[in-house]
């Protein structure tokens, strides 16, 4: 996948608009980044039981939570790929550790780390570990596809409280992924 100067300039504009609160620009930015990171991860994950999509989602969450570390005006793609590489290495490290644990703790048992890994890292299941308010808010927005305003209405909360709960919930999900 070739990335041109024009791509870099467009992504830079989209991210800048996103930081100003433009939701559509942000969704467009994340979609483009997801495709780039997917290609990046697939090229480096041939077999080995790591799902490229897990790396993509980890990277998107990290980019989201660390978006303020992008220096306005600096190239976007080196920043994106440095984060993607960090998350890819993390995935390898966890995989290695998990396999070791499997061998030590379940000697003789036919463990299937691959399927286990995929289900463990499912964001839907990550929701289960959230504080009740955060879980309702994140589920309302992600699973039911409601807006901030609809969620606030449905849960009898202020929009500000919904935004805070959403942000904290996403941060908690990212932390949980970091630990697993």
């Amino acid at each position: 996948m070739r990335v041109t100067k024009a791509d870099e300039a467009r992504l830079s504009r989209l991210l800048l608009a996103s930081l100003d609160g433009d939701e559509r620009a942000y969704a467009a930015f994340l979609s483009e980044i997801a495709a780039l990171v997917r290609g990046f991860a697939r090229r480096r994950l041939t077999g080995g039981g790591i799902d490229a999509e897990d790396v993509v989602q980890d990277t998107l969450l990290a980019i989201h939570l660390k978006r303020h570390t992008w220096l306005v005006g600096a190239p976007v793609l080196p920043w994106v790929f440095a984060i993607a590489r960090h998350k890819l290495i993390d995935a390898f490290r966890k995989k290695g550790r998990r396999v070791e644990i499997d061998i030590d703790d379940f000697a003789g048992v036919l463990a299937e780390p691959e399927t286990e890994t995929a289900s463990e890292r499912d964001i839907a299941r990550a929701l289960e570990g959230l504080a009740p308010v955060q879980r309702s808010v994140v589920a309302s927005i992600s699973v039911d596809g409601r807006s901030i305003a609809e969620t606030a209405d449905g849960l009898k909360m202020s929009e500000t409280a919904v935004r805070v709960a959403l942000h904290r919930g996403l941060a908690a999900i990212a932390r949980r992924f970091g630990r697993n």
Binding site: Y26, L30, H68, T69, W79, S142, L170
Partner: protein, 211 residues
């Protein structure tokens, strides 16, 4: 959850985030304030401060400690930003080392050889090794906390450089108290004391700077 849904969800979380540079600068100011509080509570400036301010050796201590703090601050800034060019900022960390080496040569030329050992050993080595880490440990914690808002892809190195920064700040305060002004003393004992903080930063960074 599929990736499309994740993107839609992330897109709704558009609360403005504080730029990392502002967070780190606030961390540095809080760190310096904490170091100042511990310094003035525990040590305070030396009695002959006014006279010391007229000597080159006393003033040079601050050239070294501030050069260390500035270089370390520059280094943690890029270490916390994924994809940023590192080499140049890490090389700047050599500035205080070079300054100290040059001052050491000057000291060796101007002081008879018989005095070298006593100047290097000084009288405050234990105080120096105790108080620079003691003044710097709370600032180190504050700096590490601020760095958690960043995205350091090298947690151990970033923690170590945060230790150098805390060490530079702590040594700047400690130097106001200490009357061992020889560059020989600074090269031996300040370096050791700062290294303790760098080591603490590296060990802590390995755990707290993961993301």
């Amino acid at each position: 959850m599929d990736t499309e849904r994740l993107i839609r969800t992330l897109g709704k979380d558009t609360a403005a985030a504080t730029p990392f540079r502002a967070t780190l600068l606030r961390g540095l100011l809080a760190a310096a304030a904490l170091a100042g509080i511990v310094f003035f509570a525990a040590l305070g400036p030396r009695a002959d401060l006014a006279a010391a301010l007229e000597t080159a050796r006393f003033l040079f201590k601050f050239v070294v400690t501030l050069a260390l703090a500035i270089a370390a601050y520059g280094a943690v800034t890029v270490l916390s930003r994924p994809g940023a060019a590192l080499a140049h900022r890490l090389l700047l960390l050599l500035a205080p080392v070079v300054l100290l080496a040059l001052a050491g040569v000057a000291e060796a030329v101007s002081v008879p050889e018989a005095e070298w050992a006593s100047r290097a050993l000084g009288t405050n080595s234990v105080l120096c090794l105790t108080f620079i880490p003691l003044i710097g440990i709370a600032p180190l914690a504050v700096l590490l906390h601020a760095l958690r808002a960043g995205a350091p892809t090298r947690p151990v190195l970033t923690g170590a450089v945060a230790g150098l920064l805390a060490g530079g700040v702590a040594a700047t305060f400690y130097a106001i108290h200490c009357f061992d002004d020889s560059p020989f003393f600074v090269a031996v004992w300040y370096s050791l004391a700062v290294a303790i903080l760098a080591l603490a930063g590296a060990v802590a960074g390995r755990v707290v700077l993961r993301w």
